[in-house]
């Protein structure tokens, strides 16, 4: 779709004249062909019986008459006008009304071989005149010849027929009507009678294949002279709205991206994702073994989207909506109120209901109609039952691609078939998705617990830790996983470990108290001893001090005594003392 838009821009900006195209109004087809069928030229639509040729051409005529104001002539060689009207009324096409409004002419050409005898030369002027009359009477711009090959069944002169057909297609071009000629697929040829030889401007092949008992309709533009077109096989769907073709493969990787973040709906998981959750428009894969809570995560995500007042479609391939609603209520997620508010839509279908491509068409159609911001596919693994891994992958690539252009966040759940982390089990989409959350069973101590971790999450910081994922009455929770000596501890082992730790710390606290008291006592005891020793020391010091004073006193007294004695002595011996002085004077 986006490609078609950009293409148009390119065309309008180029100075070359536009290749005129007649819009078919068929969902998706105009996008593949970048505008529709070549205007004023015949197009061959071929395919097997029941591949939708008549419907395709009828839709082209009806949409032309209703939507583009281009009246059309439907020349039927197989079905009568009443039959045609009845057949397409289920698609909401009221042919009789269009006929009354002069927007449509249906001309049934009945060729009954048993009534017809051929002798000599003839031409198909009768057909030309009829067609010309029909075209002129309503000013038709579109013509369908369905299936002109019936002429070959009714007439034997091939040489005349072929020459006349060539003339017919030339004549249609001169009439400047956009025509569809249908043809049944032949062996080794596009059509039984080689009509492709005459109609060389545009050839469309419709296909209806049955694979594993499931049929898928496909459409391919084989050639389109003077225009580029998608060359792939495109699946298409016929439902109450007519044909929807899904132009699923856009060739470019240039979708706009958003840096806005959306919550996962689980607080602790947001924390693991940088505290903010996933990127808007991203694709998220949740994989895990059976019963690991993938659907619960998906439901939480849907719930979070609806709580943000955004629309969400939940594609369930395994459970019915009621089942999911009931189950999710048990974990405290009320989806029903979102359905009542018109924010949430469930689409439950068995994968085997139709082919893989058809699932994609259905998803595509629902998205176009409901315009959600978030979709959930639960689980994609079941799609494997319809196709092989490669096909599923190709579908998902195209889906992710489409969703990215629409800025729709998608969450897939996938069942891993074994317990070992295995890249092969996720339908090979793990490399495509922006975020991959893996839930593993951890079997330990006779119980099974869930370990959740983020395998990847592009463009954001994310936790590298394994968390224990618990489903409680109040929602989903992620707990820290304990690493014990024997490895990861989860579940009751984790609880036991926690209890053990608590006991340990209590005991520790207790013993610490005891030791503290002892230390205190010891210190008091020591203090006492220190006190005794100090006082002892004090008394000794005192004693010693007294001793020294005594000694000093004694010394003083002795000195005084000595002095006194000395004085006394000098008084008695004065002369010797004088003589002594004299002697010294000499």
């Amino acid at each position: 779709m986006a490609t078609a838009r950009t293409k148009n821009k390119k065309i309008t900006s180029s100075p070359l004249p536009l290749f005129p195209k007649a819009s078919t109004g068929i969902n998706g087809f105009d996008e593949i062909t970048q505008g529709g069928l070549p205007q004023g030229r015949p197009t061959l639509v071929c395919g097997e019986a029941g591949s939708g040729k008549t419907l395709f051409s009828m839709e082209f005529i009806v949409r032309g008459a209703v939507e583009f104001n281009e009246p059309g002539v439907f020349m039927a060689f197989e079905e009568k006008a009443e039959e045609l009207a009845a057949n397409v009324s289920s698609l909401g096409f009221d042919l009789n009304k269009l006929v009354k409004q002069n927007k449509l002419r249906i001309d049934y050409v009945h060729i009954e071989r048993s009534e017809i005898e051929e002798t000599g030369e003839y031409d198909l002027d009768g057909l030309f005149i009829r067609l010309g009359h029909a075209i002129d009477s309503i000013g038709a711009k579109r013509v369908v010849l369905d299936t002109i090959e019936n002429l070959f069944a009714g007439l034997t002169n091939q040489a005349i027929l072929r020459a006349e057909l060539r003339r017919l297609f030339q004549w249609l071009k001169e009439k400047n009507v956009t025509a569809i000629i249908t043809g049944e697929k032949g062996t080794g040829m596009l059509t039984r009678e080689g009509l492709e030889e005459y109609v060389s401007d545009c050839v469309i092949l419709l296909d209806h294949r049955v694979n594993n008992q499931i049929s898928t309709r496909r459409l391919r533009v084989i050639k389109y002279r003077g225009s580029s077109h998608g060359t792939n096989e495109y699946p298409f769907l016929i439902d109450q709205d007519g044909i929807s073709v899904l132009p699923v493969t856009s060739l470019k990787l240039e979708a706009k991206i958003s840096s806005q973040r959306v919550s996962t709906g689980i607080e602790s998981m947001d924390e693991m994702l940088d505290g903010k959750g996933f990127f808007r428009g991203g694709s998220i894969l949740v994989s895990g073994t059976a019963g690991t809570g993938k659907t619960s995560i998906a439901a939480c995500f849907a719930d979070a989207a609806c709580k943000r007042n955004e629309r969400c479609i939940y594609f369930a391939f395994e459970e019915s909506p009621d089942q999911i609603i009931r189950n999710m209520r048990s974990i405290g997620v009320d989806l029903e109120k979102h359905i009542d508010n018109g924010l949430l839509k469930f689409h439950a279908s068995r994968p085997t209901m139709y082919g893989l491509e058809m699932h994609l068409v259905v998803i595509y159609k629902m998205i176009k109609k409901f315009k959600p911001r978030t979709i959930i596919l639960d689980p994609i693994s079941n799609l494997i039952t319809v196709g092989n891994v490669g096909e599923v992958k190709s579908i998902l690539v195209r889906l992710i691609d489409f969703l990215q252009t629409q800025q729709i966040t998608v969450l897939f759940t996938a069942l891993s078939l074994n317990n070992i982390v295995n890249e092969q089990t996720d339908e090979g989409v793990s490399s495509l998705v922006d975020a991959w959350i893996l839930i593993r069973d951890i079997e330990l101590n006779g119980e099974r617990n869930r370990g959740l971790y983020i395998m990847k999450s592009r463009g954001m910081k994310h936790s590298n830790q394994v968390r224990e994922f618990t489903i409680t009455d109040t929602g989903l929770k992620l707990e820290e996983v304990y690493l014990g000596q024997d490895g990861i501890l989860t579940g009751s082992a984790r609880q036991a470990h926690l209890l053990h730790q608590q006991t340990e710390s209590l005991l520790m606290k207790h013993s610490l108290g005891r030791k503290d008291k002892e230390v205190e006592r010891k210190s008091r005891e020591l203090q006492a001893r220190i006190d005794t020793l100090t006082s002892e020391f004090e008394s000794i010091k005192e004693e010693l001090k007294n001793d020294s004073i005594e000694q000093e006193l004694r010394n003083e007294v002795l000195r005084q005594n000595r002095e006194e004695i000395a004085q006394l002595r000098s008084n008695r011996n004065n002369i010797p003392a004088a003589a002594g002085t004299k002697k010294n004077k000499k």
Partner: protein, 99 residues
Amino acid sequence: MIMAVKEKKWQLKLYVAGQTLKSVTALRNLNKYCETHLKGQYTIEVIDLLVKPQLAEGDQIFAIPTLVRKVPEPIRKIIGDLSNEEKVLVGLNIVPVNN
């Protein structure tokens, strides 16, 4: 047999588109056969679709020229310039008048 045939009234319509060689040949041939085998028991109506194109649908005409035998029933059609007398007679279920 001849008596039975004689009682019938043959209504023949010849559809043409203008005065083409094929149309002219067809009409000439038809006139010749009728005169020979159905003298006095037939009517021929020539319809030019270029003039009245709306009549083509009613008789399911797609080839030109086409001879339609409406009566006696069932409806028979012979397309082409009617150059093969035997085929025309068989096609119209006319028993040829013996020489």
